[in-house]
């Protein structure tokens, strides 16, 4: 069993994030950690984020105390890794080359910050609160345990303390901070349109067979185990990029870096007008049932503001689907630094030629927005065709 000590650093959680404040440690020295464990909460200008560790091992040393604001890339703690612990840990959730990326290189729209509603979560008796909130609570004599947090994960922020002190009026459920989210969408999309030379392709596919397959599959299942078409669409994209890697990865410092891992950013609409695209990890390796369970979990946590750092930073391609009441086609704007976005329109009943006969069939329009610095329309057309082919063979998913 070999052991190594590695740094756990302040992650980059957005294109323009330069520094973050360590709000809270959820581990202490000598604690065992495994890949994917949430070890710290970091507050950025856009809200608090749960930060995961990508090493398995033991916490050797805490280097930064709660309350400290440090630049992206600053070592926060040291982790003693071990091959033993590794073997006991979970399957890797992010590809090594992505984890090892230089600080600041992983930029993502800051749309995931957001402030959720909720009760303060207590970890071992501690209340989740920002340093500013703690300081204020101390100075004005407010008991944090009695304050309802509006930060992610129910973390208490300064405003919550002020509100709690000022009034004891009707509790109003707080939603995500849609104003902040709108600003983040604006920044990311403006950057995309400014920097990425998009090209767009569109194709229609007859998906009657997969609809029938889905109805039959779900027919035997209780609601909790049913699949949605969105899960099939996401899986088809993940399998298709295995054959077309030029659509999966990042444009950084003037060149394309393909990603071995396939993490699909999934556009999720937030009630009231927000949008975020957190990542589902290693989609190509998940069964449809696993993928559907992850998707349900992700949508629920996203809407409640409980999102993890890896889900923000590591999407390698994005899928956007307008669902059953949307429009026929959508032309996406790529999330920088990704290089492609696949859009699924609403499945519509349409007249369609089957052989020489016109029949009523279920027709789906799939679109591709891709970065012309990385790929060309010809490859894009083949990529779209591959997605369509996979969607016509549900057994292959």
């Amino acid at each position: 069993m070999s052991a190594d000590v590695v740094d756990f650093r302040m992650p980059s959680l957005g294109a323009d994030m330069e520094a973050g404040t360590l709000v809270e440690w959820l581990v202490k020295p000598a604690d065992k950690v495994k890949r994917g464990d949430i070890v710290a909460v970091v507050e950025t200008q856009k809200g608090a984020i749960e930060v995961e560790v990508f090493e398995a091992g033991e916490v050797a040393e805490i280097l930064v105390e709660p309350g400290a604001r440090v630049p992206v890339g600053t070592p926060l703690a040291r982790i003693r890794t071990s091959t033993m612990a590794e073997a006991a840990g979970e399957r890797p959730r992010a590809s090594p080359e992505i984890v090892a990326a230089p600080p600041g290189a992983l930029s993502r729209p800051q749309s995931l910050s957001a402030a959720p509603a909720g009760v303060p979560r207590r970890e071992g008796g501690r209340v989740l609160a920002s340093p500013a909130a703690r300081e204020l609570a101390r100075s004005v004599g407010v008991d944090l345990a009695a304050v309802v947090g509006s930060g992610p994960d129910g973390a208490i922020v300064r405003e919550d303390v002020l509100r709690s002190r000022a009034t004891s009026e009707v509790k109003k459920p707080l939603g995500l901070d849609l104003g902040v989210m709108r600003e983040a969408i604006a920044a990311a999309m403006a950057r995309s349109k400014r920097e990425i030379p998009h090209y767009y392709l569109q194709h229609q596919f007859d998906v009657t067979a997969i609809e029938t397959w889905l109805a039959r599959t779900n027919g035997d299942r209780p609601p909790a185990e049913r699949l949605l078409f969105a899960a099939l669409a996401i899986k088809a994209v993940a399998l298709a990029v295995k054959r077309f890697p030029q659509f999966n990865g990042f444009w950084r410092e003037g060149r394309f870096e393909p990603s071995a891992a396939i993490h699909v950013g999934t556009a999720i609409a937030i009630r009231g007008g927000g949008l975020a695209a957190p990542a589902l990890h290693d989609v190509d390796r998940l069964s449809l049932d696993e993928l559907m369970a992850r998707l349900r979990d992700l949508v629920q946590r996203m809407r409640a503001g409980r999102i993890r750092s890896s889900e923000i930073a590591y999407a390698t391609i994005t899928v956007s689907s307008l669902g059953e009441r949307g429009v026929e086609a959508l032309f996406g704007i790529i999330y920088p630094p990704q290089v492609a976005l696949v859009g699924f329109g609403t499945i519509l009943r349409r007249p369609w030629l089957v052989g020489e006969d016109v029949q009523a069939r279920s027709v789906l329009t799939v679109t591709l927005a891709a970065d012309h610095r990385v790929s060309d329309g010809h490859a894009g057309a083949l990529f779209l065709a591959e997605i369509g082919k996979l969607l016509q063979e549900p057994e292959s998913l």
């Binding site: 209780p222 609601p223 909790a224 049913r226 949605l228």
Partner: protein
């Protein structure tokens, strides 16, 4: 279980999915998906919650009968008879 109880449970579960909605203002004949902006994931979560709460396993083919509040109460009352 009477209609009032079913209605209360159904509205509670809608409240969990669309917390900002005001059930008092909900038109019982309106399509819930339109009125409350429910997507397919929301609707599946609603069906899952109803299954858990009252034990009725609603097949996909019957979903359209539950697109309105009135329809949902009628459907569940029939199933729970």
């Amino acid at each position: 279980m009477n209609d009032t109880e079913i209605r209360t449970i159904f509205l509670e579960e809608i409240g969990n999915i669309a917390p900002e909605s005001d059930s008092r203002k909900l038109d019982p004949a309106a399509d819930l998906r339109e009125a409350l902006d429910l997507d397919s994931m929301d609707f599946l979560n609603l069906m899952t919650a109803i299954h858990r709460r009252v034990g009725v396993n609603i097949p996909e083919l019957d979903y359209p009968e539950l697109f309105t509040l009135d329809g949902a109460i009628r459907y569940l009352a029939n199933q729970l008879k």
